[in-house]
Symmetry: C2
Subunit: 342 residues, 2 copies
């Protein structure tokens, strides 16, 4: 009878142990519910386990846990055109009202014509002129207020939703999963640092001081009452694309990331730099191969070529060779947006 | 009897309430034990209470609590010469060994002569040449290793102590008090960002990503094996002095500080910028008026003039006019260094 009791006791113990293990497994799996089971999801879980489990040979102290995320095409939709460019185009009429002479000068004349076909054909130089004119000559506070007002009403033409609603749910889960695991998450964007900082906290849970991006210089001035302010200048200080990404990471963070996420050739150096570190490092690329639920573009893997968020076959081959993980939006993501019905 | 019991009960209650209040007051006072009682210490305590007490009209949400500290002369000794300049001078023989031609060229010839009088007279241009030559042409990791090795053995000539021991105990207490009150503490230094980041965490409890400073550009390159690295370039990207301080704060943090600490004219704009914000803002200046325990220099208040850490009378007058607090090292600090016997 005593043996029987002990046997019963161990059975109960085993039962509870099994319950606990199952709950643990569920909790882990539940960190990434919008991801289909597969190598992409698994690589994230394996990386977090390797770097955050005490005693793991690849354990990383919490202070050193840095993860960097490109934004356009990695955290939110960037097609057919970057949201910040939409902002700049939307702002042209107001700038022209302030400086009427611009109405007769290209590229402002084309933007004011409203001819979408012509606007879509503007060169990179034209766009840079528009960017420089629409983003500068005001205080940083004025700029922040303008962007905030625009974001509260401007809508993406396809989904008819606010731009900040067009973030990828699976990547939001990765951001949270990494933060819950002691990682400090940073945005490292080719887009404007000041622009992204306006909404990064509310949209991604990333505070402004953890946004690294392309940056125009500011200049310290005094207003008529003697109060100092910073004015945005038409001078590019940091170009946070390509090699500018690891350079910007060193300047702004000073530590090599342990994980980095991108989606285009502009992220290549950031992923190389991350992967070149010791221990477990995670470099991931989002491949936009889902024309139905979002967009499909490459030209890697025979996808249509694009000027916005180019993902070349060369980049794809480097990813495979270097042990980066390519995320197939179509196959790896169960759900793309939070607003989708599940 | 009942009344007597009630009376006794309230007496006991009052006694415990008094005990709790006294303990609270002690706990607060204990955050800054190296400070003498006076307006400087009180202004710090008042600021922290105003911005961190729920319901206070000047309450600041924790995410927005940013405090910025100049380093040289504010957090550690910078006289008679900046520690980083000592590092550069110490490194000259090694650079000359690598590039022997430099031995015949000024200012390297003077440095190699060992003539202290002549070295002390080198111009700012000469020093910049030395800085550019000794801090560049190596990877960021090589640079970090060099600085770490130097800091582990180089000693200040007056105190015969490691430079990292020459931090001001009262300011270490302010750093900790602010962090314990939910503030994120940043160093905003005119010195080299990469240099300070090597020891900021161990010395001040400030992680590298919270160090803003003057910065040379880096360049992304590949070694022979194809491994990427960042090399330090002789190109000044950020000059974090004067107006460069608020500009650097905007670039690197993106929020206006609620508290800022400096000691020289190079900090003026940072303190103005901080004080120009809404609500409670704290701008403080350390005045080196203690020739016995540390150094005395100004030329404010009739103190001897200096080229290192100049504190002009104009700055002193602005501080008084704008409601900044001037800290008298002599009168406000009970103890200056942690190694002093108490």
């Amino acid at each position: 009878m005593k043996h029987f009791q002990a046997f019963q006791f161990y059975r109960v113990l085993l039962f509870f142990a099994a319950l606990i293990l199952a709950a643990q497994a569920r909790a882990e799996a539940d960190s990434l519910p919008s991801w289909n089971e597969g190598p992409a999801k698994q690589s994230i879980i394996d990386f977090v386990k390797a770097t955050t489990t005490q005693g793991s040979p690849q354990f990383v102290p919490e202070a050193e846990r840095i993860a960097t995320f490109d934004q356009d095409g990695t955290l939110w939709v960037s097609h057919p055109i970057y949201s910040q460019v939409m902002y700049c185009l939307d702002r042209v009429p107001r700038v022209v009202k302030e400086k009427p002479k611009l109405a007769k000068v290209e590229p402002f004349k084309t933007v004011m014509s409203g001819n979408r076909e012509k606007i879509a054909k503007l060169s990179m130089d034209d766009l840079l002129k528009i960017v420089a004119t629409t983003l500068t000559g005001m205080s940083v506070e004025e700029f922040q207020a303008e962007v905030k007002a625009w974001l509260s009403k401007a809508r993406d033409p396809r989904w008819k939703r606010l731009y900040t609603e067009l973030t990828y749910q699976p990547m939001q889960e990765v951001l949270k999963y990494l933060r819950d695991s002691g990682y400090k998450t940073y945005i490292v964007t080719g887009g404007g640092q000041d622009f992204v900082r306006v909404y990064s906290e509310a949209t991604y849970g990333i505070p402004p001081e953890q946004v690294v991006g392309s940056a125009l210089a500011t200049k310290y001035e005094y207003d008529k009452s003697g109060k100092p302010f910073l004015i945005k200048e038409p001078k590019l200080l940091l170009n946070d694309n390509n090699a500018g990404k690891p350079e910007g990471i060193h300047l702004m963070i000073g530590r090599k990331p342990h994980a980095a996420f991108g989606n285009s050739t502009g992220d290549r150096q950031m992923l190389e730099y991350t992967k070149a570190g010791d221990g477990a490092r995670l470099s991931m690329l989002v491949l936009h191969d889902d024309a139905k639920r979002e967009y499909a573009y490459g030209p890697a893997q025979g996808l249509p070529a694009t000027k916005v968020g180019t993902f070349t076959q060369e980049l794809y081959d480097e990813a495979k060779k270097q042990g980066w993980t390519v995320i197939s939006m179509k196959n790896d993501w169960k759900q793309i947006f939070a607003f989708e019905s599940k």
